[in-house]
Symmetry: C2
Subunit: 657 residues, 2 copies
């Protein structure tokens, strides 16, 4: 319940696995390791013809040791961790709303940028000498001769799947054909007579979201953008969980690979059908993704990426056949993957570099892409440095008491009134601010997502509820019934029970604050390391890449010290820059060479190898602030340096504006 | 009956199709065009619960116009042509023995020849720098560096299916691996540590028989030879029938292609398992076949090969991936197909050229490969000419009243006593000569195969029963109850009714003699054309290639005038020379280049374009003889030139001797 699905599973199957088998998607960040607590389910009394009425404890294993441990820290109130509870007989199970995996809200759109259209795929029209007695050559040899005579194209090869179509296409076109050629080297498609139209897909395989842009390779136009949740989320929310799943399940890699390939096929199918043509029209694909997504997509076990020294199978760009990946596009369709840089710096980051080209800008650019790891690119015309910083998944809502992914019902915006200490929140899927006591919104709050937790911690600090070390202030300076203190821990009640899906309040705990501090310190320390290596004290612009960058408020990010001080005017969210990079490489083949040059010339800094990283990390744990930029707040803050006149921008300027 | 298979088919299905659907293989040469008469069946009375006892004419369409025509020329005695009779309701059908398709007897074995072993596939052992922090390269880049440093192998690529295995193989071998490399260019396989063993398949896809030699690519040794009937035989005996089947059936090409691929997979599986290893060990395949087999194998519709100007899709050698053909060998296994020469001169003939190398021999070689078409190669160091002569399928037993393929029960040897005019015969599957009145052999005669009909016609001529124009002598010079004459036609009763499976006698008719005359004239005219073009009156050696060449008796072939006069000592049957050529190309990569040079430098003579062909053809219709070589027969022959002392050899010297 509530899906109503029924079915039989093997005795001993855990409920997370059982739910998967029955097609019910449960939240799971840890991938079944009984630690994240996201897969909680309620075992109900149920009537079964064979057994009569069963109680809640019939037909299911007792609490596991790990489950009991979890229960002590985060009372389960009789719920079970689906990954721990094993089926022993007939059961009726309810999946509470907060445990249901939701379809992701996608906030990505292809940005319009000027692109020099020079794709890897081209079409030429050619007239071929008809076959005749006395000319024993094959039709292919006659076509190749015509392409050499009429287009000076030499040493071409033809894909065997295309060769199959040659004779009928030639005759259908009365020995005139339109030839689709890849990199002036290989014939991918033949169409009878004169035809016009070559199409490709630019794909960003994110850990959470997969986006595909269908592009007209002649005009460069984006004909349609399709996105979907990465189906691998059901095998583990973060990358480490997915690697663990693959390690523990003999079929794990196969399943992960098939699920993402199926999603790509579905996205391509949708994009093509909305644009009014068939998959046969798609002859080129460029794919970016982080290193784990890249390896799984290619069918490579990512196990080495889960442990030092984080060895990639390859960091080179790949030219593949779509059919070898199982993609159902044109039978001869090509796939190009951008190069990788290191174990934690993937083709997505190369896509970002390609799109933002920090090495071609005046001044120092800092590009930050936050996910389970934060990838940091810093550079100018002289040098570009890259690093990956182990922020952990806190920024994605994991490891947070009521954390969740950015999905409907998640708290994504937070304000705390400096006088009353009362909160205002926004929920994904509902436009209005919600205050305690306001009429209940049509949707219930299910948890808090990454941007929400960042705003919440920053607001707690600005309101003086926590101090710069991240501790809840124990004195009487701030006092509110929302601040729950006991000897052991502390929390702030952000959402009251009447507004939540679970019926329990949503809290920001001392542990949550600590988790954000650790994450932001890792990010800042990585940034600082690169700035030191490059020998700069400040940056001239900050580019926030990825969905996270679009949602977070740079004001709050700067208050927390997520990013270094920088004029807010020069902080830009570029959305899916990785996908933009893929699109560039799809539309311009020179960009593929450029991506390789960028990847190979970038200086990769291995953060764990740098002793300075640990120092910077410890130094960055405290919460700094930016009150000099917000003078009206100065009086309320623990420390108060000089201010200036600039006003905060409540929302980030994006390139779409 | 007699298989006992039952099943339901759609109303209107013909019995040939119905038999196929029920898994019963019927003989069919014409592929369902109601002309060959090989698919005769008997509709029996049958009891069906729904209908009670049905008569022989219930639930089946009446005789078709074509069937009635066939019946007038070759009385059906109440039988039906399965391809004509359509199912209207429940039926009980008996398939008489002569209509059943049999498993082919295979008389091919790989001949041992000295071969310089230098295959396209090689193994090298290499030690790779282990991954470590601070080296962001991928394992592939480290391996490529090691191959360059230790083996001077540069610019290698790795098959994506092999890349998938890289990290685990490297670690399993503690960063030492054995690398299987194709053409010094592409890595096909990785094995942990030091390993030894590379294997490949040389395959000859004949119209009737498919042979695969499993070879050790290091030693050149043939580890095993497997053969099977080409499963396409059930879609039509000769090439034209198969093309017709593809033209008339929307799924025809797909079925034909799948069936041959399945056979190749089966042969590979058998060969590997008998040699004691897995299909994963096979990393290279060389395939030869005639042009139609080649195209169907590659998935190319052979329709253009069925009509002038007989345009090939390509005549180039192909380098493919086994997986793209659907072959289940090593995931990265390569397939090489030898080049073709012209619409009727295929990779099998190039294989023969490679094996026999007429351009490297002193004196003029004539190589004849007889099938539905006869391919003729004539040449010496100066020039090699090739032609295809439209012999039709008579030499394969088709278009002959009681003709059949070389299968158990077929008459394959014939002697006619010069005094009594009584025959002696041999049957495939039975070692002894059989005379009329001798105790019945354990198997019954089902028909007469190609070698049998050639001997029969030659013997009829030697016995004076037919004259040199091929007519049955009408006078009293020869007289026997076996010679059946009426005003319209004539026949010789070769096998009496008590020795045949059908219970009817097996005859050699005037029409059969004519069919053989037409076929042998076409072959001789083609040979003569090439000899004239080359400016020679005689040849120094005759090489008979293919299964047919192994079975026919060169004495009888020369009596008939199938081949030009040549000292019998210099007539050699080389068996499956096409398969030998495939094996050469498998074991020596230089042979692949050589095959291309041979194919491209050979002079192709298009027989239909040569006006002289028609003249030579008419001139060759008469039956010459070689009595000068067989003086003891001289007195019995219509004409009697001077003799010599040489004795006939009853059996052909083959290279195996």
């Amino acid at each position: 319940m509530p899906s109503g699905r029924k079915g039989q599973v093997r005795v001993g199957t855990n409920l997370l696995q059982a739910a998967r088998e029955l097609g019910v998607e449960l939240e799971s960040i840890c991938g079944g390791k009984q630690t994240c607590g996201k897969c909680q389910v309620i075992i109900e009394e149920g009537y079964f013809p064979k057994h009569g009425l069963t109680s809640r404890s019939d037909h299911v294993t007792d609490l596991s040791a790990l489950e009991r441990e979890y229960d002590q820290q985060h009372p389960l109130d009789g719920r079970r961790l689906a990954c721990a509870a094993q089926v022993l007989g007939d059961l009726l199970v309810t999946v509470p709303e907060e445990s249901q995996a939701h379809k992701q809200v996608i906030a990505k759109a292809a940005t319009e940028r000027p692109i020099d259209v020079d794709p890897a795929i081209k079409q030429v029209y050619v007239e071929v000498k008809p076959a005749e007695l006395g000319d024993p050559r094959g039709d292919w040899e006659r076509l190749a001769q015509a392409l050499e005579d009429q287009w000076q194209l030499r040493d071409l090869v033809i894909d065997p799947k295309t060769l199959i179509t040659l004779q009928s296409k030639l005759r259908e076109g009365e020995f005139a054909v339109t030839v689709t050629i890849w990199q002036d080297r290989e014939i991918l498609r033949l169409q009878p007579g004169y035809q016009d139209g070559v199409f490709g897909l630019a794909v960003d395989v994110g850990s959470t979201t997969v986006v595909a842009h269908l592009c007209d390779l002649r005009t460069g136009e984006v004909l349609g953008t399709q996105s979907a949740m990465n189906p691998q989320v059901r095998f583990g929310e973060d990358l480490m969980s997915r690697i663990s799943y693959i390690n523990s399940e003999p079929q794990g890699l196969f399943r992960m690979n098939r699920s993402i390939i199926k999603t790509l096929n579905d996205l391509a199918e949708k994009a093509a059908s909305e644009a009014g043509f068939t998959l046969d029209e798609i002859t080129d694909v460029v794919i970016v993704g982080n290193t784990v997504m890249h390896h799984i997509l290619l069918g490579i076990d990512p196990v080495q990426l889960g442990m030092a020294p984080f060895a990639l199978a390859t960091y080179s760009a790949q030219d593949l056949k779509a059919r070898d990946l199982g993609l159902n596009l044109n039978a001869a369709c090509r796939v190009h993957t951008l190069p990788l840089i290191a174990g934690h710096v993937g083709a997505d980051n190369v896509g970002v570099m390609l799109a933002e080209a920090p090495g071609e800008q005046d001044g120092i650019s800092l590009i930050v892409d936050v996910g389970t790891n934060a990838e940091i690119i810093l550079g100018d015309r002289t040098q570009v440095l890259v690093a990956s910083s182990p922020t952990g998944p806190a920024f994605e809502g994991a490891q947070i008491t009521h954390g969740q992914r950015a999905a409907p019902g998640a708290v994504d915006r937070v304000r705390i009134d400096l006088d009353t200490l009362e909160p205002r929140i926004k929920l994904i899927g509902h436009a209005d601010w919600i205050s305690p006591g306001s009429p209940p919104p049509p949707i219930k709050a299910t948890g808090i997502c990454g941007s929400g937790i960042i705003e919440a911690v920053a607001e707690l600090f600005l309101a003086g509820i926590i101090n710069s070390r991240g501790h809840f202030n124990q004195g009487s300076a701030v006092s509110s019934p929302r601040i729950l203190l006991d000897g052991r821990t502390a929390a702030y009640q952000l959402v009251d029970a009447d507004l939540t899906a679970s019926g329990s309040p949503i809290l920001i705990t001392q542990e949550d604050v600590r988790a954000i501090q650790l994450a932001k310190a890792a990010l800042y320390a990585g940034t600082k390391l690169l700035m030191d290596q490059r020998g700069v004290k400040t940056v001239d612009r900050i580019i926030l890449a990825g969905a996270f960058g679009t949602f977070i408020d740079p004001f709050h990010a700067m208050v927390l010290g997520l990013i270094p001080d920088c004029d807010l005017e020069h902080v830009v969210a570029v959305g899916n820059a990785a996908g933009d990079g893929a699109r560039l490489a799809l539309l311009n083949r020179g960009m593929r060479e450029k991506a390789v040059r960028m990847a190979r010339s970038a200086t990769y800094v291995e953060t764990p190898l740098e002793t300075k990283f640990q120092d910077e990390f410890v130094a960055a744990l405290n919460i700094p602030h930016a009150t000099h930029k917000f003078p009206h707040l100065a009086g309320r803050l623990p420390e108060s340096p000089e201010g200036n006149k600039r006003q905060p921008r409540s929302r980030l300027r994006s390139r779409q504006e």
